[in-house]
């Protein structure tokens, strides 16, 4: 397992798998095969994948600790960047077909519509996270500050779910499912922090030192 997780090919595989929704959207677009309302398909699909990748990203730390697989950290940045990639596409499908690239109309909408306000806020808050995702930026910011900044992803995930919940008309099953996953992953962190403060961390990483990656800041943000 460890070998598999540390192989560079696994990373390539995760990248390729994460790109599949994008590739499918592109081929669907080229084949004019995105359903009867292609614009809506693009909006919903990219929105769904944004939330899913936020959840995947948030799942890394709990999984590392509970399964004792510190190597999983290697995939977190990539998953987070995929969340950002899909939210950019999601935003463009709104700015383009919906708003005809008219920024003033967009601002009116952002100010007036609660569900767009929170969705837009989540998008904006993800920008600094994507911008500071490089190793150089981690070093420049210092682990502690970088970590504090990147806790914004909790806010983004919550806002993203609210955005979806406020959008649907009456069938809230899907937004609630996302809320459930985000809730579990955030509660785990609360629970974990509580026990760590009491000095008996319930889940510890077996060996921080063995974290096999070339990121110098790895140790500090592994606590996230």
């Amino acid at each position: 397992m460890r070998k598999l997780l540390t192989s560079k090919w696994t990373k390539v595989a995760v990248f390729l798998v994460s790109s599949i929704p994008f590739v499918l959207l592109c081929t669907g677009l080229l084949r004019n095969d995105l359903g009867i309302n292609p614009v809506e398909t693009l909006q919903h699909t990219t929105g769904d994948w944004t939330l899913r990748f936020l959840i995947f990203t948030l799942a890394i730390t709990p999984l590392r600790k509970t399964l004792n697989l510190p190597e999983l950290i290697r995939f977190r940045r990539m998953l987070g960047l995929f969340a950002f990639f899909y939210v950019v596409l999601h935003f463009l499908t709104y700015l383009g077909p919906d708003q005809s690239f008219n920024f003033s109309g967009m601002w009116d909408d952002v100010a007036k519509r609660k569900f767009i306000t929170v969705g837009f806020a989540a998008f904006v808050l993800l920008i600094p996270l994507a911008a500071t995702s490089t190793t150089g930026m981690i070093r420049r910011l210092g682990g502690k500050r970088w970590q504090a900044l990147h806790r914004l992803i909790y806010v983004c995930a919550i806002l993203g779910v609210i955005h979806y919940y406020w959008l649907v008309k009456s069938d809230v099953r899907k937004p609630l499912m996302y809320a459930f996953f985000v809730g579990i992953l955030l509660l785990w962190r609360v629970w974990n922090a509580y026990f760590r403060r009491k000095g008996k961390a319930p889940a510890t990483v077996r060996s921080e030192v063995s974290t096999p990656t070339n990121l110098p800041a790895e140790k500090t943000f592994s606590e996230l």
């Binding site: 798998v17 599949i20 929704p21 499918l24 959207l25 081929t27 669907g28 084949r31 095969d33 995105l34 359903g35 009867i36 309302n37 614009v39 809506e40 398909t41 919903h44 699909t45 769904d48 994948w49 899913r52 959840i55 995947f56 383009g96 077909p97 919906d98 708003q99 005809s100 909408d109 007036k112 519509r113 609660k114 569900f115 767009i116 406020w166 959008l167 008309k169 009456s170 069938d171 809230v172 099953r173 899907k174 499912m177 996302y178 996953f181």
Partner: protein, 320 residues
């Protein structure tokens, strides 16, 4: 009224069936769903899946009616595979998928309430009550998508006029058929059933208001409200109630399903109005199926000349 007359060109000719039956396989069949499916609880792309199923419709004999728009008619495949009929599920592809075995015969529509002699109509009686007309109407959903549909039917007033309402009759209430056994998907849709709607008497008697039994030259497909529905083209789509079994004259403003679900979002009148936003989204523009960019929404969905006078002196923001 059901005839075997072959029109020179049917709407089915517009989009050959083999062209659209074999599409969309690739996206849905690719099995790399993995963790995504676990989270999404469904396929990799939430595409309104047009599993083109044949629908049992038969040709109707009709004449070209009044009030038709010359805008481009939306392809029948889009209209039949992208719509809301929450009794059959909340996804736009659900009605086509889940309504195929819906039983629409025998069918009776009961007209009751504040009338001298209530009576029940069989479907055959409804089809013979007045000459059928084709009316090509714009149809605007509150969700911002819009279509252009060649409906077939006659003004609802033709039916209502055969009754002698009491002086108390100020509104007309409608009720859809409901059977949980035939509509199991309705259980999780967040709405109360049977679906109910209503119109003020003058709205119901307006010649634009259609008692609709068909579209695209044939009887209504199940997913579009077979065998008989109402079409009110200047109001948001949810006012155009499907598969009706009851029409009731009454004194009080009837409750309406979406208003019961969220009264601040869906008013009784629900006239298409770009100046009155839905609380959660703008109604200024709409997405006409088949077009890339949004277009401006027109007040009363472009039927202001015919219907604006019904609302003279009314605050359309308050009575939205």
């Amino acid at each position: 009224m059901l005839t075997r007359r072959q029109p020179e060109l049917t709407y089915a000719d517009v989009t050959p069936k083999e062209l659209y039956t074999n599409r969309r396989k690739l996206l849905r069949d690719i099995g790399i769903v993995g963790a995504a499916a676990a989270i999404a609880g469904e396929g990799i792309l939430s595409i309104a899946s047009p599993n083109l199923t044949a629908y049992a419709t038969s040709k109707l004999n009709f004449t070209k009616g009044r009030f038709s728009t010359d805008e481009k008619v939306t392809p029948i495949n889009d209209v039949t595979h992208y719509n809301n009929f929450y009794e059959f599920g909340t996804d736009k592809g659900d009605p086509a998928k889940n309504s195929q075995n819906f039983k629409t015969a025998p069918w009776t529509v009961s007209v009751e309430g504040e009338v001298k002699t209530p009576r029940k109509f069989s479907m055959d009686e409804i089809l013979k009550l007045a000459p059928l007309e084709e009316r090509i109407y714009r149809h605007r959903c509150v969700e911002r998508w819009s279509i252009v549909v060649p409906w077939i039917g006659y003004s609802l007033s033709s039916l209502l006029k055969t009754f002698e309402p009491t002086p108390k009759a100020k509104y007309v209430a409608f009720e859809s058929y409901y059977d949980l056994g035939q509509m199991p998907q309705s259980r999780y849709t967040g709405l109360e059933y049977p679906y109910v709607e209503g119109l003020r008497m003058d709205e119901a008697m307006h010649p634009l208001t259609l008692l609709c039994v068909g579209m695209y030259g044939e009887t209504l497909p199940n997913q579009d409200g077979a065998p008989v529905r109402i079409v009110v083209p200047w109001k948001y789509g949810y006012k155009s109630i499907k598969s009706i079994v009851k029409i009731k004259f009454q004194e009080k403003e009837p409750p309406t399903t979406w208003n019961l679900q969220a009264s601040n979002e869906y008013g009784f009148y629900s006239n298409v109005n770009p100046n009155v936003d839905h609380p959660r989204w703008s109604q200024a523009t709409e997405h006409r199926l088949g077009e890339l960019f949004s277009r401006k929404t027109v007040i009363f969905n472009g039927y202001a000349d015919q219907v604006a006078s019904l609302y003279n002196g009314m605050d359309l923001k308050k009575y939205h």
